[in-house]
């Protein structure tokens, strides 16, 4: 085996796959110098994004988002709860991000992935601070009953840019959400009205649907995110797991539909972010937000 300096000799003898495994950084840098990545994407292009709605019939809202191979399944279930005394007119959203062992070889059962609670919290912060959902719309009876939305996002395939795909699936799931119809019964409790069998019409007439009109949430200021890798003077948009493991500086920019920055997240990493890199990342995020808006528009979301 030659020294890394003499790898030029080795490259002519070694197969591409072996070179990719043994000298991953050199393999990528050979591509970056041609402004390309191993999957033939230009540096500033994100992977193909597909979104599907309403896959989980037992959930009140659900969505599947795929960015390249990264697949996220989001599902929302609504439950009635008593609002807190500080905000009697507001409902609540609880976001949980799960990484089951199916998603990646490094996640094993019984040992939750390190990234999962962190992504949960980041998603929760982003969704609540972007103002996408008006929590007062989740109120049923002021001070007594309000909706609690449990948003669960399952990562089915972790191939880089987990936060982006998770945020996209959450946003689409909220747009797909149909709030169940409920009524106030005699005991002053909220009960769900089911469509299956109307037992006796008398009791149904008493129960008036409390929220017949508002079944869907109005979403404003939808957040769109883009994760980039900073490496020397290259900026790679939408990295895969392989790229993330070799070049460790990740920057996530979240912009909303009115071009405000919801979040600029950079957590350590070898490369430092200078003003020029920040500006480039924000530009890439703007382009990506336009792309995602078009994709959501095609699906008649909002």
């Amino acid at each position: 085996m030659g020294l890394p300096d003499s790898s030029q000799d080795l490259t002519s003898e070694m197969e591409v796959d072996a070179f990719r495994r043994i000298f991953p950084l050199r393999f990528f840098e050979r591509h970056l110098s041609e402004s390309l990545r191993p999957d033939a994407r230009p540096l500033d292009k994100a992977r193909d994004t597909i979104v599907n709605l309403g896959l989980v019939s037992t959930a009140d809202g659900s969505a599947l988002a795929k960015i390249g191979s990264t697949t996220m399944l989001a599902a929302i279930r609504m439950e009635v709860m008593t609002p807190s005394t500080e905000s009697p007119d507001e409902g609540c959203i609880a976001v949980e991000f799960h990484m089951p062992p199916i998603c990646s070889p490094i996640v094993r059962p019984g040992r939750p992935a390190e990234a999962a609670p962190v992504i949960s919290k980041r998603l929760s912060d982003t969704i609540l601070s972007s103002g996408m959902i008006d929590l007062t719309e989740l109120c049923l009876v002021s001070g007594k009953a309000a909706w609690m939305g449990y948003l669960d996002i399952y990562c089915l395939d972790a191939d880089g840019a987990l936060f982006d795909a998770a945020l996209l699936s959450a946003v689409v799931a909220f747009s797909n959400l149909q709030i169940p119809v409920v009524a106030l019964n005699d005991n002053g409790r909220i009960v769900a009205i089911t469509n299956e069998k109307e037992q006796d019409n008398a009791s149904i007439i008493e129960k008036e649907a409390v929220n017949k009109e508002k079944r869907k949430l109005t979403l404003k200021n939808i957040p769109f995110s883009l994760t980039c890798i900073l490496h020397k003077n290259y900026i790679l948009a939408d990295p895969t797991t392989e790229e993330e493991s070799i070049m460790d500086t990740l920057v996530t920019v979240v912009l909303d539909s009115s071009d405000q920055m919801v979040s600029f997240y950079k957590s350590g990493g070898e490369a430092l972010a200078y003003s020029s890199s920040i500006k480039s990342c924000v530009e890439l995020a703007r382009k990506r937000a336009k792309e995602l808006k078009e994709i959501l528009g095609e699906m008649d979301v909002d």
Binding site: P117, Y265, K266, S275
Partner: protein, 242 residues
């Protein structure tokens, strides 16, 4: 139109800083850092042999344990642990002690706003006290935006609640060198203007974010000077050695 802060500080003024090192005897390095009423204690144990699973054995590994003042450990603490771990990994020289694990334990003594920057500064001081090789220090500051677009540095808890958005920024420390200025520029900016870590909460415009970054960069000069003075003081005092 200036901002009136309750404690009478100007918008760019930091709270009084205090740092003491080598306060715990069993740990290899320790430091307590306080900014105003926010106080954090950091302890460093390491390097110890072996790395954790899934970590690269050719590099040194860091683990961070964050202990809140009250309550159980939840997602907030896990996020702080990950941010701190990645920040420490980027400032330390990982190739000097490969296949070792260094533990950094953070104990929150009191939280009065700007907790994460305080903890990062404390961790840095503790790492210096333990003698872990580093490329440069991580100097952390919190910058928040008020309704009228003014940026305010180092808020306390009440101010944090009133602000529309805030950003935790971590920069490398300013360098004092005998070399001419030109040798330390990267892309026409001095090295200490690069952001190591940035975490923002709340919605702000892109220009406001750049404003926060500018203010943060200006503040790192005074924080770096404080670090330098603090470390040099104990060096000159031989009775404190060991």
């Amino acid at each position: 139109m200036e901002i009136d802060r309750e404690d009478g500080r100007t918008p760019n003024q930091l709270r009084p800083l205090a740092c003491s090192r080598n306060i715990l005897h069993r740990s290899h390095g320790s430091a307590s850092w306080s900014q105003g009423d926010t106080k954090v204690l950091a302890a460093v144990y390491g390097p110890k042999a072996g790395t954790k699973k899934n970590e690269n054995p050719e590099k040194a590994c860091f683990e961070v344990i964050w202990k809140p003042k009250t309550g159980q450990i939840g997602k907030v603490e896990k996020e702080y642990e990950l941010i701190l771990k990645r920040t420490i990994q980027s400032i330390c020289v990982l190739t000097v002690n490969p296949n070792t694990t260094t533990s950094v334990i953070i104990q929150v003594v009191h939280d009065d706003g700007s907790l994460l920057p305080c903890a990062i500064n404390a961790a840095c001081a503790a790492l210096v006290d333990a003698g872990i090789p580093m490329k440069h220090l991580a100097v952390a500051i919190c910058c928040c935006l008020a309704d009228n677009g003014y940026a305010v540095l180092d808020p306390n808890k009440l101010e944090e609640k009133k602000m529309t958005a805030l950003a935790y920024l971590v920069f490398p420390n300013t360098t004092l060198s005998v070399l001419p200025e030109g040798s330390s520029l990267v892309e026409d900016e001095p090295v200490e203007h690069g952001i190591i870590t940035s975490v923002t909460h709340g919605v702000m415009s892109v220009d406001d974010y750049f404003l926060c970054v500018e203010n943060g960069r200006a503040a790192t000069a005074s924080l770096s000077a404080f670090f330098r003075k603090n470390f040099q003081q104990s060096q000159r005092d031989p009775s404190k050695a060991g």
